[in-house]
Symmetry: D5
Subunit: 115 residues, 10 copies
């Protein structure tokens, strides 16, 4: 599990529901079966509650996947879980859009809804 | 019917409804009327329940259509049926997007909803 | 009215509601006012009931418009009527997307819903 | 106000609700403040009732704006009013999509719903 | 806070709900942490009530951000607040679409609904 | 052979070598082997000498191919020959860019150079 | 002939051959045969000698074509002649890229080379 | 080696050097190392001498690669050799543009010049 | 004139002629006539001799234009002069691609060749 | 320096000059100054002599850069040197097309010509 902390800053308009979308096209991890690198884009959309994601710490958090072996489905859900735990958003979606392997392209979409 | 087995792996987050989209642009089969090759893209979207589709076995499954004579409508529905039987997803859509024949382009979209 | 018969074949999965989309970018007819050729794309989407449209006969059916004088609005509705009569689909949409005339572009969209 | 008459022709399928979309990318008028020309695209979508818009007369109607001073918001609403009065459609949308001025681009969308 | 006044002009069709969309691709401000310039596009959509936004004054209002240090989330919400206060629209959305920083792209979307 | 005459008008700057490019995306003829319609775009580029091509007569000239059976290679060369004979240009290129048949797309390019 | 003067300003680097490209997508004139408006884009590229083209005066110069009847070939050559006379460039190209008429699109390219 | 014969037809303008470009986006063969299918587009450009390539026979010729094991570099050069032998063109280029394998995309370009 | 120094680092392969292309889409300056901001993209291509441009110092150098009044033609030539002086390249091209003003778009291209 | 060997296979047509183009969009290394990852696309074009590059070994060779600190200019020239040494091509070009850093994008192009 990434040891890097996702830092946060106070939401400047907590009284309003608004959306923040963050695209990280430079995601890479390692396939646990072949040991070969995987590449993809992570897209995060959320409605902040008390806290927003600080972008530089998000960058360092995602870089920690660089040499980890992890499957697409697992990585996408893990990122959602870690970000939800860090900022407790009202809503959040994480999309992992991974590059072609064996002529096949995979996209994983996971959502969180505050209950 | 393809004899290749679609392998599965356990869903890493069965407690969450999330979507997996898989694009296979290198699909080819044979037109049963003319014996000539057909080309297309198969797009699969699903919400996994207990099992996910293992991509390498999906690739081998789709390659089995390479020298089979089958119509567009039949192929798309057959793939949906086979995948539903293999992983019992919560929801699944299969789109067969076939290339131009006689100046006409055809796309077939079939959906499954767990009941 | 076109004399060419739209041929059909039995729907391979009548127990399932699924969509078939057919794009015919090579449609041409004649403007009844000027006698000059019109060009366009006919896009058909439908949910089959007992029968599907056979593509080769659809091609011959559309070629019959080649030297007929007919307005855009009429052609699009006529194609919808003829196809509905031929296969009695559960739902069908016909879009006629015609090329620029006098700096103006027209698209006509007609829908049928089984009642 | 344009003096040109918008001509109409009888709707060939009044018993069916269907949509007609008309794009006019060659619209130009004059800015009332600066006297300089404005350029834009007018997009009209409607569901006809008894009458349809004759395209050639629409072209002449829009050309009448060529040397008129009128603001974007006014022009879009005026075109909607004039077309509604001419053909009494079941529904109509007019979009005025105007080119960049001072680094800023404006689009105005007005809708009419038969009551 | 910008000292420039957002000017308004009377809505030419207050009796009709219609949308005005304004794109301002030439927005720039300064990052309060690094002091380096940020670039982005501000997209405003609204349904006017009694007043519309005068575009030239909007341009001058946005230029005031040029040398201000402000975060993305704050800037987008601030613009929404200032425009709502200036014209009291029926509905308004402001999107701040900012360019890549550290390989990460951010978009902020804030909405106002007259209550 | 088309019986329609290609009309000409005097070159307004015969003392200068300049290029005129004309795109005709609405070309259609008939395949002499199958009797089925072919579609394509004819692109003409030339340096005029004493005469230029009058566009309306070019349009009528190209419409004459509508119901003629002719191969791609022949049509492209024939159009070049007819236009060269009509206006005796300093240089001319005719490109016939034809749509997909049997999964194969063909483009024919023929050039004339005044000697 | 346009009565508006093309203003100039001194070339800031006359000792260097460098290129200036100017795109004017909002050109409109009137067809002398039909009296209907024509639309197009004028693209100017030149190597300045002692003088450069002042953009605001170029804009006013091009607006003078708005209500003039002139053919494409003539307009493009006329603009080249007028600009050459105004600034005596080392090299200049003028492209007139006009919109579709009767399904046919025309582009005229004229060049000047200081001798 | 393909046993299918590439048929030819007489060049309709042997006295003129002109180019024919043929795109075949539906090429597939088998990787001799893995036994898995490869996909690509074959693009042929040539100047005919006495003979042109008949398209239907070209299609059947290319289909013969469908179940053959052959490397990219070999396939592209083989197609060039076979076509040169069949029609003895004045010039010919064959491009094999193959789809991504292992995150790497390959294009092979081979040319023939009559000597 | 910018006071920021363009830093350099030693060319790692001075024995080879190779090209470095640098795109800076976030350039902004001020129009000396109107005092309003201008936006553009600066594109630099060069063949290094002994020194290469250090990117971070280039960024700070370009930021110095942010509040300077300067015309397009002047800015492009100035950047070329300053970079040539800093690294004495074998060849260099600077393109200033500026955004639309008054419906007109300007691009300036200046080149340096070591003599 | 990468320890992985670039494997080769014999050129199947050494008697013909032909080009092979290889695109590797999934290149990543580490910035030696910041320690942060860099991303880019490596594009290789060459005319083989006796040997061709085996793609799988090329992939492993490029993966060795994943955790190395190296500047753009150095990496591109290094790859060219290593590939030239491995296969002694007649000609080779290597392009390193790197992603945006600090709002600036860099592309490095190095060429080798057999002497």
């Amino acid at each position: 599990m990434p040891s890097s902390t996702i830092e946060t800053f106070p939401n400047p308009r907590p009284e309003r529901d608004y959306r923040i979308a963050i695209n990280c096209p430079e995601f890479t991890s390692v396939c646990p079966k072949t040991g070969l690198p995987d590449f993809g884009e992570i897209r995060i959309t959320y409605v902040p509650d008390a806290q927003c994601i600080e972008l530089k710490s998000l960058k360092y958090y995602l870089i920690e996947f660089r040499n980890r072996g992890i499957f697409y489905e697992h990585a996408t859900n893990q990122i959602l879980d870690d970000l939800v735990q860090a900022i407790h958003p009202r809503r959040m979606t994480v999309v992992g859009d991974f590059s072609v392997r064996g002529g096949i392209k995979t996209t994983v979409t996971a959502e969180y809804q505050e209950t």
